[in-house]
Amino acid sequence: MTTFGWYTDKVCEHYQNPRNVGQIEDADGTGVVGNPVCGDMMMITIKVEDGRIADIKFKTFGCGAAIATTSMVTELVKGKTLEEALQVTNKDVADALGGLPPIKVHCSLLAEEAIRAAIEDYRERQAGGGGT
């Protein structure tokens, strides 16, 4: 497969065919991290059922690595319990992609932050009375 820059095949494949793209309309939790000024912004929306991530979608403004890491993190946590999802680290995301160039490691950090933010948002909503 053709690759770009110092990205692995897997990064390029996720860039070309990202998984779980979109935004869940009646999401239970939303995580938004990054800043368009810095060139990376990620939004993850989740649907939680029985303490598990039943559905997950993402939207990303950013480079190929930003797109691939968000895509990969949604794959890694889909179907997992919230506790399990919180165990997923940026290293897991990078490893699942076959590694990232050093200057793109921050993308995997953002991806980890995005899923954490979405879970945190879900928990806050639960604590705040469960309304959406």
């Binding site: 793209v21 000024v37 810095c38 990376d40 939207k59 950013g62 480079c63 190929g64 797109i67 200057i103």
Partner: protein, 406 residues
Amino acid sequence: MKKRIYMDHNATTPLREEVLEAMLPYLRDEFGNASSLHAFGIRARRAVETAREQVAAALGAQPREIIFTGCGTEADNQAIKGVAFANRSKGDHIITSRVEHKAVLETCEYLEKQGFRVTYLPVDEYGLVSPDDVAQAITDRTILVSVMFANNEVGTIQPIAEIAQVCRERGVYFHTDAVQAVGKLPIDVRQLGIDLLSLSAHKFYGPKGVGALYVRKGVRIDPLLHGGHQEWGLRAATENVAGIVGLGKALELRLTEMEAEAQRLTALRERLYNGIVARIDHVYLNGHPTRRLPGTLSVSFDYIEGEGIIMGLDLEGIAVSSGSACTSATLEPSHVLLAMGVHPATAQGSIRFSLGRGNTEEDVDTVLEVLPPIVKRLRELSMFSEETPFPEEAGPRRRRTKECVR
């Protein structure tokens, strides 16, 4: 494998076959040191001096005014540091612009640490420096003004003659980084009133690793490199004979086709731009609409990021760059686009096409087929759109790029 399309000629150009042929003898049998007095040395010396004449003729200069360097960056360093250190008793103030190449900007920043004062002039929305701003910035402590001939990222051509005239009237040396302009635009250093001019061979189909600096006779300048008499003591180093021969040959050949190529590339560039605008919305042209390098087209796409676009194009065999290849490893948007007042988030969505000798109308049409679906796909991936634009607080008034840390 389908044909790869190279549209990144401002980064570098392929070596011309005729230039390679001219260089090869000096990489094989003609290995002499140009400083030696035996036959080997004399042949190498003749080759270097022929190249010097070719460069001088191309610029309207005297051969004695051409110094060969290791690259364009070195020529910029030599010009700015050389003039600064040689004229310290006269003054300690340097004027440049905010859109210069890093070779100039970071040299100036270094000189600030050495006690010099530097004024970084603003530019207008097209990237133009105002000669009036130059005049107003000059003080009796000013020793050098350095403004690039044409910008590498957006292609805007500066009012060089007007700026040079201001400098001449005030008795201040004028240097121009013409790395992107030489071989693309007609340049006569005498007519324009330029005191120092930098150029680089690999931008006009010559080899990498060789550049030149024009230093007008009478300009006081210190060397960067010490340790030999070469280049009249201004650049102590054994001459890169093959590289110098290649530079001279490449420039000579380029001049014969420059005018026709300028017309052809301007037409191709316009075909590309008009095609993009017709197919994609929320696209902005960066740089001056007409006062621009023939083959350079910088455009910004709202709601998406530039590397994503470049990646999509490269996977389809089309090579372009985002802003400047030198800065593509950083998170900050292009300093050139920011200086022009482009919204920093929009600046992140910028790509630069720089067309050259090998490009054809078919290439442009291929790009026009390939690019729109990539932009469409990336926009579908993005949380930003016409309905949900970039947040206002990220706008041009807030220069918060320093906060972009990894």
